[in-house]
């Protein structure tokens, strides 16, 4: 490899690393979202954890909640499990296996990615779910941001 090629590649490498870092920073922030008409206000992290572990079925301001989540291969789900429930993805899955196969809870409806989940929440008054914070727009209401 010649010195000239080094010079050519260098800006590209810097750009790639920057993009990777930017991507990582985006993934690091999770937003718990609801439909804009939902009566719920700001959610605290403990309540969010209880809700997504199926320990509670309602939250202040919403006496009916349709819980939604993302597919197991979605990177947002792993990030959400780690940041909100303090579990690795396999632990989160094992936890929900206990809840579902004991008949005590119905698993949340799952979506393939952030945009599909956001679209569902935007059209469903009682839906509460989680997305990468970078995809949030006016079609949904943010109940909690988890950096």
């Amino acid at each position: 490899m010649t010195p000239k090629m080094h010079n050519t590649l260098w800006p590209g490498a810097v750009l790639s690393v920057s993009l990777l870092l930017a991507s990582g920073a985006t993934l690091a922030e999770i937003a718990i979202i609801a439909n804009p008409v939902a009566g719920a206000g700001e959610l605290d992290k403990k309540t969010a954890k209880k809700l997504f572990l199926g320990k509670i079925s309602t939250i202040p301001g919403m006496d009916k909640v349709t819980l939604v989540g993302q597919a197991d291969d979605s990177p947002t789900k792993a990030e959400f499990a780690k940041k909100v429930t303090k579990k690795k993805l396999n632990q989160f899955k094992a936890y929900w296996s206990k809840m579902v196969f004991s008949g005590k809870a119905v698993p949340p409806k799952e979506f393939a990615n952030d945009s599909e989940l956001k679209a569902f929440v935007a059209r469903t008054p009682n839906a509460v779910g989680y997305v990468d914070a970078s995809v949030v727009d006016d079609s949904v209401k943010v109940l909690l941001n988890v950096p």
Binding site: K46, K50, D72, L89, K98, F101, G103, P107
Partner: protein
């Protein structure tokens, strides 16, 4: 009995199809969920005597995939107040005949109160309500001293079964704690007998999903006890007697440290031969995708009677979350029988020390 249960399974499927018809006409995917689990387990010992199960169905030196099983679950939300769930179960031990392990309706009486009715999984023991789901536990099979295999000729017989009846399930949570009380009544159908007038309660206290404390107490009356070939006269002694049990459990999952501990006592009237005390402790440490564990189990039955059993088992286990939704498991156990035959069949003569190893694969879908 299998035919009856299979018929029940078919009826349930038909009922669900009927139940879901209006939903199918609208948004069925929001109302019905189907999920499942499967485990393929192999065990072998270095002794010809069958362990924790009937002859040819327990674990012996011929090796067996007897723990292999599969389950399919259907959850149907009828409306905001009522939902129905059924779990169809099939195992090698039952020749893969599909049976309804449990099926019940849940009526929501309030935000924190449910009334459940139907055939429900017995709530005694930390893991009994999902005991068939290997993926949800660290072990290949839950400790036999508490969770004796169905149909096993010996053992405490405290859990495993599903009961027919009703349950009132209440919950209350505070900042860090979540409390749950399950009051239940009904009847149990066992292999060769029934437990009628079953009444019991399970109380749970969960601290931030890190530590769980649980206690279960129940009692019932033994009815229709069939003669036991290896224990003549026992059926007459058991008929109409009060059967009761008390189980305590503790579970922790904190900073990759995993602990399970349970203790149980089961009694039948004042029959010393039927009084059993069991306990076990499992400690593990999660290292990435690996969860190595060590489990010690102790089982004593019939102290002071003509037939006294004392047995302990030490198991080294490993769970490996190999890929998403799939766990591989390996284990090796040493079973030491100090008095009687323990969880080996009645009147058998197992070696004082028997080794057992196993491997398996668990999945949920």
């Amino acid at each position: 009995m299998n035919i009856t249960k299979s018929s029940l399974a078919c009826t349930l499927l038909a009922a669900l199809a009927t139940l879901s018809a209006p939903a199918l006409a609208t948004n069925w995917s929001d109302r019905i969920r189907i999920s499942g689990f499967a485990s393929a387990n192999y065990h072998a010992t270095d002794d010809p005597t069958s362990f924790d199960g009937p002859v040819n169905e327990g674990h012996d030196n011929k090796g067996s995939f007897g723990g292999t099983r599969v389950g399919l679950q259907i959850d149907a939300k009828v409306n905001d107040q009522f939902r129905f769930a059924a779990q169809l179960f099939s195992s090698k031990k039952e020749d893969y005949i599909m049976e309804a392990d449990w099926a019940f309706g849940t009526l929501r009486l309030g935000d924190n109160l449910d009334l459940r009715a139907g055939k429900l999984k017995f709530p005694g023991g930390l893991v009994n309500e999902y005991i068939s789901v290997g993926y949800a536990t660290p072990w290949m099979h839950a400790p036999a001293v508490i969770y004796t295999e169905l149909g096993a000729p010996n053992g405490p017989q405290m859990t495993r079964e599903s009961y027919s009846g009703i349950s009132l399930l209440g919950r209350q949570d505070t900042d860090d704690w979540a409390f749950e009380a399950d009051l239940f009544t009904g009847e149990l159908e066992l292999a060769g007998s029934y437990v009628r007038k079953l009444r019991g309660a399970t109380l749970r206290a969960d601290w931030d999903d890190t530590m769980l404390f649980q206690v279960t107490g129940y009692s019932g009356v033994m009815m229709g006890v069939e003669d036991i070939a290896d224990a003549p006269g026992m059926a007459a002694n058991m008929e109409g007697e009060n059967h009761r049990a008390l189980l305590y459990g503790f579970k922790a999952d904190w900073n990759d440290i995993v602990v399970y501990a349970e203790k149980g006592r089961v009694e039948m009237a004042d029959l010393s031969m039927m009084k059993a005390d069991s306990w076990y402790t499992t400690v593990g440490y999660r290292i990435g995708k690996l969860l190595p564990t060590v489990t010690y189990e102790s089982y004593k039955q019939g102290a002071g009677s003509m037939q006294e059993d004392q047995q302990n088992t030490t198991t080294l286990g490993l769970r490996w979350d190999y890929i998403r939704n799939v766990a591989l498991k390996f284990e090796i156990s040493r079973i030491k029988t100090e008095k009687g035959f323990g969880l080996f069949p009645q009147n058998s003569t197992p070696d004082a020390s028997v080794n057992m190893f196993g491997f398996g694969i668990d999945t949920v879908f």
